[in-house]
Symmetry: C2
Subunit: 273 residues, 2 copies
C-alpha cells in the first residue's frame, strides 16, 4: 500500500510529503482497528531490523533526518521512537555522531519482587504478621557496616513472622537507623507493621537487593515451623534516603513455601494475564 502514513489522520492544511514513501508503516498483517501509534511503528520497524540481524550490533542506523524523509513523518515522532529504544538498551545514541545498534544483548533481565502482603492477599489467602521483638540494641559489626554506623552504635531491631493462612512464610529480621527514623521504637506495631510504617513514613530513594540460599539456624527454623535441614531463600534489602542508610532487613523464606518469580516481555514490561 502507499497511503502515506501521515495522511490517515488529518484534513488539515499540509499535504503529506509525497516523498519516496518507501515503507508502508501500517504493515500487512496489521488489523486496522488498533492503529498503532506512528512512533510505535517506527520502534517496531527498527526492532525488527535489529532482531532479524539486518542491523547487527554496532551498525549505524539512519539518522533522525533520514527516517523523517523515509517515512514522511515529523522528527519529534522519530525522536521519540529512538529515545525509547535507547531507554530500552537496544540502541546507543551519541549526540553529534549518530545512532547505533547496541552491542551485546543486555542479557540482564529483571526479576520483580512483589510486596508479600499484597501477594498473599491477591492469592485470596489470609495474611497475618506477628511482631516478635522490637528493641533498641547495640549494632553488631555486620549491622553497623550495613547501616554505615559504628560498632556498638544504638540501632532499632525488630523481628516479625509473616503468615499465609497461618503458615509462616517469612521471618523478617530488621535493623533501622535511629538517626533517620528516631521514632521507630515508639510505634504501635500492632496497627501497622514495621515495614508498613517505614514505607509510609520514610520514603527511600535507593534500594539494594541480594538473594541468597541458606540453611536456617535451629531458632529460625523453629520460628518458621520448618525443619532446619530444608534450605531457605534469604532476601536482604537495604534502603537509602539521600545517600543515608535507612534500614537493612533480612527476609528468610522457607523455600518450600516461597519462591521469587516474574514474567517479563522483551521490552522490559511485566506480563499480565
Amino acid at each position: 500500500m502507499s497511503p502515506t502514513p501521515a495522511s490517515r489522520r488529518k484534513a488539515s492544511s499540509h499535504l503529506p510529503s509525497p516523498s519516496v514513501a518507501a515503507v508502508p508503516l501500517t504493515a500487512s498483517t496489521s488489523p486496522m482497528p488498533p492503529a498503532l501509534a506512528l512512533y510505535q511503528q517506527i520502534k517496531d520497524h527498527i526492532s525488527r531490523k535489529i532482531q532479524d540481524g539486518s542491523w547487527p550490533p554496532g551498525h549505524r542506523l539512519p539518522s533522525e533526518h533520514e527516517l523523517v524523509a523515509q517515512f514522511g513523518i515529523s522528527r519529534m515522532t522519530v525522536n521519540r521512537a529512538l529515545r525509547e529504544l535507547t531507554e530500552q538498551g537496544r540502541v546507543v545514541r551519541v549526540a553529534g555522531v549518530g545512532s547505533f545498534v547496541a552491542e551485546e544483548k543486555p542479557q540482564s533481565t529483571l526479576l520483580q519482587i512483589a510486596n508479600l502482603a499484597s501477594e498473599i492477599r491477591q492469592r485470596g489467602h489470609d495474611y497475618r504478621c506477628e511482631v516478635l521483638v522490637v528493641e533498641r540494641i547495640s549494632a553488631s559489626l555486620e549491622v553497623a557496616a550495613a547501616l554505615d554506623l559504628r560498632l556498638g552504635d544504638s540501632v532499632f531491631h525488630s523481628l516479625c513472622v509473616h503468615l499465609e493462612d497461618g503458615v509462616p512464610v517469612q521471618l523478617e529480621d530488621r535493623y533501622v537507623n535511629p538517626r533517620v527514623v528516631p521514632d521507630f521504637g515508639a510505634q504501635d506495631f500492632s496497627l501497622q507493621q514495621p515495614s508498613e510504617y517505614l514505607v509510609r513514613n520514610v520514603p527511600f530513594d535507593q534500594v539494594e537487593h541480594v538473594v541468597d540460599a541458606v540453611l536456617p539456624t535451629a531458632e529460625q527454623a523453629e520460628r518458621l515451623a520448618m525443619v532446619p535441614t530444608q534450605p531457605c531463600l534469604l532476601l536482604t534489602r537495604r534502603t537509602w534516603t539521600r545517600g543515608v542508610p535507612v534500614t537493612v532487613v533480612r527476609c528468610l523464606h522457607p523455600a518450600s513455601r516461597y519462591r521469587l518469580g516474574s514474567r517479563f516481555r522483551a521490552d522490559g514490561n511485566p506480563v499480565f494475564g
Copy 2:
C-alpha cells in the same frame, strides 16, 4: 503566553511560583549540572510533591493544561514529563479523566539478573564453560509441561558447567523446543555455548524467572565440586517467541559462590558506581 519562546532556557530560573523553592535535597550530591532540561525540572517538581507527602497517593495532579499555564512551557514538554513519570510507575494517567499519584509504589521492586559470563569478566576473573552433554531425549512430564509439549516428545537437552577462575559457579541444565530451534543439536558448542547460540539466533519476546533455594543432588554437588549439604540458588528461566516456548533452563548455583543482587534508585534505574 507570549514570553520569549526559547530564549530563557539557559536561565532555568523559572521554576514557577514563589511558594516552592529549590530544596537542598540535591545540593550536596549534585555536581552542579548544566541547566537541567525543562521536562526534567517538571519531573523533579512533581516527584518532590509526591515524595514529601504534599500529593498523597490517589491525589489528582494538575492537568497538562494547568501545568502549561503554571510553568509557561509547552504542552509537549509537560506531556513528556508526565509520560516518563507514568513509565516509572509514580503516576497513573487515564485519558479523559486525569492524572493521579500512583498508589503504593514500593509494591514491587526489581532485581536485575545479569549475564553470568559478563558478570564474571567484569570482575576481572576468568570465565570458562564446559559442555558436558548435548543430546536429544524424550521429554519428561516436567519438561513437556514447561515447553508445552507432550510427554515423550523429542527435545534437545544440554548440560554445562560455568566456571569462574576454574571454580564451578553454575550448573546449567537446559531443554530446547526442537520445533522452534531444529538446528540446536547440530551446533558446535565448543565455539559458542548453548545460551550464546540461543541469544544470538532465537530472539525471545517473553521471559519468566523463578528463584528457588534447594539442596543439590549428589550428582549435581559433584559436578559443582561442592558438598551436597550446602544449599543452592536455583534460577529457572523460560523464554517464548510469539507465544511458543523456546527453552527452559535450570541454573543451579552454589550459594556460597553466587548471589543475585542489584541496586536501584527509586525511579527504577540501576545504580552504577
